[in-house]
Structure formats: C-alpha cells, structure tokens
C-alpha cells in the first residue's frame, strides 16, 4: 500500500500541497483528479522522492529508499530517455540498471504499441513518446505504477491503445496511481478517486460504491464539486 500522510509542499511562498492524505492499494487504479495546478503532479513527484516535502509517505510500510525504485515506477508526461538514443538502446539501459526489468514483457509491449526498436527517440511523435514511456515503465516488475497525464496531447487512436493497456494483463495486479484530464477514457477502470483542490483532498470515493449507492459517475461528481 502507498500511504500519503499529511503531505505539504511549497514552491516559494505558494502552497502547492496542504496536508494531503490518502492511500492507494495494490491491485487498484487510483485516480488523482483536479483542475490544472492543484498539485496532482507534485503529489506523484513527492511519492517518487523527486521533490522535497513535509509529511510522510510510506511504500509497503516503509519510507522511500533506493531499492524502492525496483518496486515503484513513475511514468511522467515528458520523455525520460536521451533523444539520441534508439528505442532499443533505451531498453538496454533499463535492463542494465533495473533487476526488475522484464524483457519478455518489454517485447510484448513493444509489439502491442507497434514501436520499432531502431526508432530514434527524438524522432518519435508525442503519442509514440507516451507509448515508449509506458512501455519502459510497465516492463518493470514493480508493485506500483504512477502515471502523470498519459493521455495528454495525443491522438484518439493512441489514447485508445493506452487505455487498452489498463484492461489487459500488462497491468495485472499492480497498484496504479494516475492523474488525467481525459477521465472518459478510463472511467470504467478506476477503483478509487481522489479529488484535489488548492492542494487539499476535497473528496475521496470508491467509484463502484458511488455508482451503486448514488448513481453518479466520476464526471458527475467532478461537476458537482468543481462547478459548485
């Protein structure tokens, strides 16, 4: 389980996160939702130890160490490999540094996304860059996958392809925390929603319970909260 406990973060004088607390379980898709600038990406960066923060974050009951990067991975919305590298070189790099690299799954994902090993990263389209990021992240045998806006700025076909990954065996029983504006693409796959506003958790709910008990979709709840 990922436990985020009273996490606060300031950039200069601006408060980005103000006592954010939530949990994300293995085997569940947790979605962080909010308008731009509410602290979704900062929350993911804090979990990954990519920005300092106040509060406590535990991964399977332990604070983040270098070994945690074999158990949790972050897929940002920017390329994380050198532009001059080819897709194959990026895969070799990952294989070299991570014990949790699963070459078999990497090749499956390569095929799934129709990426070519010899393609240079600098020459990939935005959609293919997102797919490459996803391929590199999901090829690690990790417990948790954190995704920042995986559908941002990419065409409808690539979005469908990426959304299909969530429903496939490629995600298996991992815990996923995702931030997205394109909620419609994956709404049916989300287990839990954390609504953020002004750096705080505004509402937290289980999507199935919400549907069954109140008959509301995630988008309905978002409208209620953000348009109120």
């Amino acid at each position: 389980m990922i436990e985020v406990k009273k996490v606060s973060k300031k950039y200069g004088r601006k408060k980005i996160l103000d006592g954010v607390s939530f949990t994300a379980n293995k085997g569940e898709v947790t979605c962080l939702i909010g308008i731009n600038g509410v602290g979704k990406t900062t929350t993911l960066k804090a979990i990954m130890g990519l920005t300092p923060y106040k509060g406590e974050i535990l991964i399977n009951g332990q604070t983040m160490t270098k070994d945690s990067y074999e158990k949790i991975t972050f897929i940002p919305d920017a390329p994380t490999m050198l532009p001059q590298m080819t897709v194959k070189q990026a895969m070799v790099f990952m294989k070299d540094f991570y014990h949790s690299w699963n070459q078999e799954r990497a090749l499956q994902l390569l095929e799934f996304f129709k990426l070519k090993e010899e393609s240079r990263i600098s020459e990939l389209s935005k959609g293919n860059t997102a797919k490459l990021n996803l391929m590199l992240g999901l090829s690690l045998d990790v417990d948790y996958v954190l995704m920042d806006e995986p559908f941002s700025g990419i065409d409808i076909f690539s979005r469908e392809q990426i959304a299909n990954v969530f429903a496939s065996h490629l995600i298996e029983d991992r815990g996923v925390i995702i931030t997205t504006h394109e909620i419609g693409d994956i709404e049916h796959l989300i287990d839990k929603v954390i609504l953020l506003d002004n750096g705080t958790v505004l509402k937290e709910f289980n999507t199935e319970e919400m549907r069954e008990e109140e008959g509301k979709s995630v988008v309905d709840v978002m409208r209620e909260v953000y348009q109120a």
Partner: protein, 277 residues
C-alpha cells in the same frame, strides 16, 4: 558498485564525440604547429643569413639555435590545451544542466534509478576526472612523437639541444602544471582541480535545490570553501604565523581533503533530499 561503474561508463559515452573531437584537434593542431612553426623559424633564419650575409656558424653564434620550447609556446600547441580545459570546465555545468533542460528530461530517469544519489553524483565527478586524466595521457603520448618530428625537421646544426619529454614539460609553465614531475605536484594540481570541481558541483546542487536563492547560497558556499582552504596562506600573508613549506603543504592537503569531502557530502545530500525535478 556495478551500477556506479555503469553510470561512469554511460557518462563518458555521452561526452565521447566531443571528447574524441578534442583529442583530434589537439593531435592535428600540435603536429601542424610543429611543422609550420619549425618551417617558419628555419625560413626566418635563412632570411636573416641572406640579409646580413652571415654564415650558418655566424648566425648560430649570434642568434642561437632552436629547440622544442619555441613550439611549446605557440598558439598551435597551447591553443588545443586551453580549448580542452575550457570545454571540460564548461562540461562541469553541462553534465548536470543538460539532464534538466531541453525537450528530454533525463533527470527523471537518473534520479529514479535504484542506486544511491551519491553514486549518481560521484559517477559524474569520476567521468570528468577520468576525461581530464585521459587528455593528459594523450598529451604525454603526443609530446615525444612531436619532439621526434621536430628533431627530424630541423637540421642538426640548428638544434639548440636534445630535449627529453620531461625537460620540455619542465620548461613550459602550462605543461608543468598539467604534467607534474613529482607526486607532490600531482597532488597539488589534480587535488585542487578535484576540490574545485566538487565545490562547483555543490554550488550547482544549491541552485537546483533553491533556484534563485540557491545561486547566492552556491556563491556563498564557494567563498567559504575557498577561504577555508586558503586559511594557512592568509595566516602567512598577514604575518601572524610562519609555516615551513612542508607544513604549508601538509595544511593545504588536509584542508583540501576536508573541503572536498564536505563538498561531496553536502552536494550528494542536496541531491538526495532537497533537489526538485
């Protein structure tokens, strides 16, 4: 340890094209310098002999012969050394900032590797240090070859003296600095270089951690570190106390180790705990 070595290898590979270009420029410029400067010196000598109607013996007794120091002090020879030094100083900054800026944010991947942040910090420092040593080794290989070419291009009568590689290095201020003749000189030249690099790395980490405020903190840290290292020199200059040269060397060495160790610790601490991607 393996990941650290892989990172060092990775960092060296990333700079390899520019590095090989620097090695090639050094080779071409210095060899061209030997041929061009030697030819020019011999032409000058012939012109003077013709104008002043001097025999070879009279010319040599009046103006003297030539030796390799005539080559070693030219831009052909020192230019590529200066270029390499500037490139590596520039690279101290580039090795960090290129991972943060531009279209590809490789720093995400680098900081998410399952290895300690200290390994990442040290791998970049080691890569630069190895590249410096590589350039020096290249110069030490080239020097006797250039010397041999020089000897074969100059008539024996015009040669001032046969200079060995070490005497060429000792006769030139810059070569003396980069090719030390004693272990003490090696410690001074390369120890100070290592210390300066660790201070600059720490200043960069301050900037990456605190942005605008970090620039001031980095400058302040650089000033404090330099002042700490030079304390014995200041004490001597102000005539409060006099140190014998071996005492001064021992103090500088000790303070250098302390400043380098402190910079590495602080830099890697900032990278682990304060840096924001």
């Amino acid at each position: 340890m393996m990941r650290y070595l892989k990172l060092v290898n990775f960092e060296i590979n990333r700079f390899s094209k520019i590095y090989l270009t620097l090695l090639l420029i050094t080779l071409l410029s210095q060899f061209a310098g030997v041929l061009i400067v030697t030819k020019s010196l011999l032409n000058d000598a012939k012109e003077i002999m013709l104008e002043e109607k001097l025999s070879e013996v009279a010319y040599l007794s009046e103006y003297g012969g030539i030796d390799f120091t005539h080559i070693a002090n030219t831009l052909w020879f020192l230019g590529p050394i200066a270029l390499s030094a500037v490139a590596l100083i520039f690279y101290i900054f580039l090795i960090w900032y290129r991972d943060w800026f531009g279209k590809n944010t490789f720093i995400y991947r680098l900081l998410m590797l399952p290895t300690s942040r200290l390994s990442i910090y040290l791998s970049k420092a080691t890569a630069i240090f190895l590249m410096v040593l590589g350039l020096i080794a290249w110069q030490m290989i080239l020097l006797p070859l250039e010397n041999a070419l020089f000897h074969s291009s100059v008539p024996e009568a015009f040669l001032n003296m046969e200079m060995s590689t070490s005497s060429i290095a000792a006769a030139n201020g810059i070569l003396m600095l980069i090719i030390p003749s004693t272990f003490t000189q090696f410690l001074l030249s390369y120890g100070i270089g290592l210390m300066v690099m660790s201070i600059l790395f720490t200043a960069i980490m301050f900037e990456r951690s605190f942005r605008m405020k970090g620039i001031l903190l980095g400058l302040l840290y650089g000033g404090v570190a330099a002042a700490l290292f030079l304390t014995p020199v200041f004490i001597m200059a102000s005539e409060i106390f006099h140190f014998y040269s071996n005492e001064l060397f021992g103090l500088l060495l000790t303070l250098g180790i302390i400043v380098t160790g402190l910079s590495i610790w602080l830099g890697s601490w900032l990278l682990k705990n304060r840096v924001t991607v």
